[in-house]
């Protein structure tokens, strides 16, 4: 897109015959709305392009110095470890058939709680892009989950079915899951991206903690709207969302109940896909832009980082992650109602990201596991668990603000912040 400016008057090739290049058509200056549209288009495509570019980048570039040491590790150790982890994660639901498990492990590896872990891992990965990579505190993440779930509920025809079910008597045939229904995933992706742009483009210009409150407000507005509007069938919500199925030739997969292990595997494969995409993204130009914005927005803008566009890109990627998760959630649970999408869920996902370590992918996974499984395992102490959870958030923030598995870059930032702030404390006149 770089256009050379007008030729300088003192060109070295002045003596040449004056064959002028044909006068270039000067583009008419864009109107304000065209500029905005371009901004939005770039924001929506930047992330995808960067991920693809990374994936197909030429591999055989020269390696010198430290890279020579790191390369073997990258080539062998990391893929092996990743493969083993995925394999272990995939066989978890089968353990209870092979071994005699103690009660707490039974609860932890039941189809329901495992797929909940996978779902929250997906959400935590998405929110980690927003909070950890780009440094935007989003307290209304549940809104995108709700948008994905409601998109699925409406597009599968479950809404119309539920409406007739509630208004008419007699037996009504259950809607069947058609093959093309998998397109709903993409539709929800599109809707979530759209919602992300709509919510993000006005708000992302705000200061950090204002952004937190506004996103919180948006999360509540979505919930209140779903509660009050006839379009989403109000507080009762939409039920009878069909389970998905794949029936192509010899393949005959059917997801039957919400405890089905296949849901866990479906979600797990999405998690793996997302981890790959996000780590590529993190190392791309976009990822570096996010770091720059997070560390110093003004400096980033001065270096030519398109700040708002990059923020919207992060927001959109977070949104479409939640949208996809929302679709699978709706199909698994079969019911969506506004009561599910409370502020508490947003906080739960956020604390998964924070406990694990902001900006660290492994951290998000560990955080999601902790946030979902610990309450599941300690079910006997049901009424105490969120009290303890709140205290744990404070304790983590005081003693380990970088999280359990910190990202290296983020950790360095936090240390830098401490050195800077000590000046202030010294001025406070109190011994540290």
């Amino acid at each position: 897109m770089s256009e050379s400016g007008p030729r300088a008057a003192t060109d070295a090739r002045d003596d040449r015959p004056a064959v002028r290049p044909p006068p270039r058509r000067r583009r008419r200056p864009w109107t304000r709305w065209q500029r905005k549209a371009e901004e939005v288009r770039l924001a929506a495509t930047t992330g995808v392009k960067a991920a693809l570019g990374r994936a197909f980048a030429p591999v055989g570039t020269a390696r010198t110095g430290a890279a020579r040491w790191i390369e073997p590790r990258r080539r062998f150790v990391i893929p092996t470890a990743a493969f083993l982890t995925i394999a272990i994660a995939a066989i978890l639901p089968l353990l209870k058939e092979w071994f005699d498990l103690p009660g707490w492990m039974l609860r932890a590896t039941s189809g329901g709680s495992l797929s909940r872990v996978a779902l929250f891992t997906l959400f935590a990965l998405g929110l980690n892009v927003v909070v950890g990579f780009a440094g935007l505190l989003d307290l209304g993440y549940v809104a995108f989950w709700a948008i994905g779930a409601y998109t699925a509920a409406i597009l599968t025809g479950a809404r119309d079915f539920t409406r007739t079910l509630r208004t008419t008597e007699g037996v009504i045939p259950q809607p069947e899951w058609e093959m093309w229904m998998w397109l709903i995933l993409f539709a929800a992706l599109g809707v979530a991206v759209f919602a992300g742009i709509v919510l993000g483009s006005p708000t992302l210009r705000l200061r950090g903690d204002y952004l937190a409150i506004v996103t919180l407000g948006f999360g509540e507005i979505i919930r209140v709207t779903a509660n009050n509007v006839g379009f989403t069938l109000g507080p009762q919500g939409i039920s009878n969302i069909p389970h998905p199925a794949i029936q192509v030739g010899p393949v005959d997969l059917e997801w039957k109940t919400f405890l089905d292990n296949k849901y866990y595997w479906l979600l797990l494969s999405f998690v793996v896909l997302w981890i790959i995409a996000i780590s590529l993204l993190d190392r791309s130009r976009v990822g570096r832009a996010w770091v720059a914005i997070r560390e110093d927005e003004v400096a980033a803008a001065a270096m030519g980082v398109p700040v708002v566009r990059m923020k919207i890109a992060a927001f959109v990627i977070g949104a479409c992650t939640a949208g996809v998760g929302g679709v699978i959630y709706a199909e698994q649970i079969n019911t969506v109602s506004p009561g599910t999408f409370t502020i508490f869920q947003s906080i739960l996902i956020l604390s998964a990201v924070v406990i694990g370590g902001m900006g660290s992918t492994a951290g998000s996974i560990v955080g999601a596991i902790i946030v979902v499984l610990l309450p599941e395992i300690f079910r006997e102490f049901e009424s105490y668990r969120f009290f303890v959870f709140g205290l744990a958030l404070i304790v983590v923030m005081i003693f380990r603000p970088q999280g359990l598995i910190p990202s290296r870059r983020r950790k360095a930032e936090l240390k830098g912040a401490m050195v800077e702030e000590q000046l202030f404390d010294a001025a406070g006149g109190e011994p540290l």
Binding site: R207, Y210, F386, L414
Partner: protein
């Protein structure tokens, strides 16, 4: 929605009186947000729980300490009201101090980034909420049985103030509750304004809000200022809690804080965060906007209206109506 304008016109003065009453309560809670923001530059997310504690404690004091079950009149009413007000203010002041001591001060000592403050405030908020949900007299924490204060179910408040029509204004009858809420909050807001603008410690608060480093060089004890700010914010929220319980709500609940907190925060932003008089103005305006909007679109949208106001203010004029007082 076709009757929107009609119903608004018909109920205009009714809704004005209601809006002023609600707005006075929002203003008192908003002060806690705005003062802490002025001094520490952070959103005290746990302030909503301070309000919740005050509603719970005032209900407990009313029922258990003063043994009120029905309507009371005259001097007894005044005595009971002041007693409960004292208990509510003290309890929520102490809650605010506890939050400051355990959730904020360790982080300030370490110079943590602002995100950590927000998350630890969310943690404190969760912990307090669920602690009060546990307080039904049957649960114990370690070796200490929790008192029977709240529990998971909402508790009803005895109707101890009888509604009396006092006078009529533009065809709307104003009752003693409206007058009492607005009166009490006006007195408290006036006292606070004088406190911040006249006294020595109030001068300290203003100094720290402007420039903490310079203030500490001039001999202002920053920690004392912060503690005072939290306590005052807590006391205001405490009074608001009692007023809310008796005149708007009617029952106490452990999750009551969240929605009121968001409304009050919107009010603080509307008036310009960090600006004390702005919070008062913002509270009143938000109360009015909410009631007008509620009569227009239906009361179930009242909550959404405050969010919409918040978003609009932040988009159009982020510094609020009276301008924010934020150090650069």
């Amino acid at each position: 929605m076709d009757g929107c304008f009609d119903s608004l016109v018909r109920q205009f003065w009714d809704q004005t009186v209601n809006g002023l009453t609600a707005g006075a309560i929002y203003a008192m809670i908003a002060l806690g947000y705005t003062m802490v923001y002025g001094v520490l530059q952070l959103i005290n997310f746990a302030h909503s729980e301070v309000f919740m504690v005050s509603t719970v404690v005032s209900l407990h004091a009313l029922k258990e300490w003063f043994g009120v079950t029905g309507a009371i009149h005259g001097a007894t009413l005044i005595f009971v009201f002041l007693g409960v007000l004292l208990a509510a203010c003290l309890s929520s002041g102490v809650t605010a101090l506890t939050i400051e001591r355990f959730a904020y001060r360790p982080l300030r000592r370490r110079g943590a980034p602002r995100l950590s403050f927000l998350i630890s405030a969310i943690g404190a908020s969760l912990a307090i909420q669920y602690l009060f949900a546990l307080m039904d007299g049957r649960h114990a924490l370690l070796f200490w049985t929790l008192p029977n204060l709240q529990g998971p179910a909402p508790r009803q408040v005895p109707r101890f103030v009888q509604t009396e029509q006092l006078f009529s204004l533009f065809g709307t009858t104003v009752n003693n509750k409206h007058v009492l809420v607005v009166g009490v909050s006006l007195v408290m807001l006036f006292l606070l304004d004088r406190f911040v603008n006249v006294t020595r410690i109030g001068r300290g608060i203003r100094a720290v809000a402007q420039d903490p480093e310079a203030a500490s060089m001039m001999g202002v004890n920053i920690d004392r200022v912060v503690v005072t700010t939290f306590f005052i914010g807590g006391v205001m929220a405490g009074a608001a809690g009692l007023l809310f319980l008796v005149f708007l709500g009617g029952s106490s609940h452990w999750q009551i804080g969240f929605i009121l907190g968001i409304k009050a925060f919107s009010a603080a932003v509307l008036g310009g965060i960090g600006n004390i008089r702005g919070a008062m103005l913002g509270g009143i305006l938000l109360g009015l906007a909410e009631k007008y909007g509620g009569s227009c679109f239906g009361t179930e949208w009242e909550t959404a209206i405050s969010f919409v106001v918040l978003v609009l203010v932040l988009l159009i004029k982020p510094s609020g109506l009276l301008g924010e007082r934020v150090r650069t």
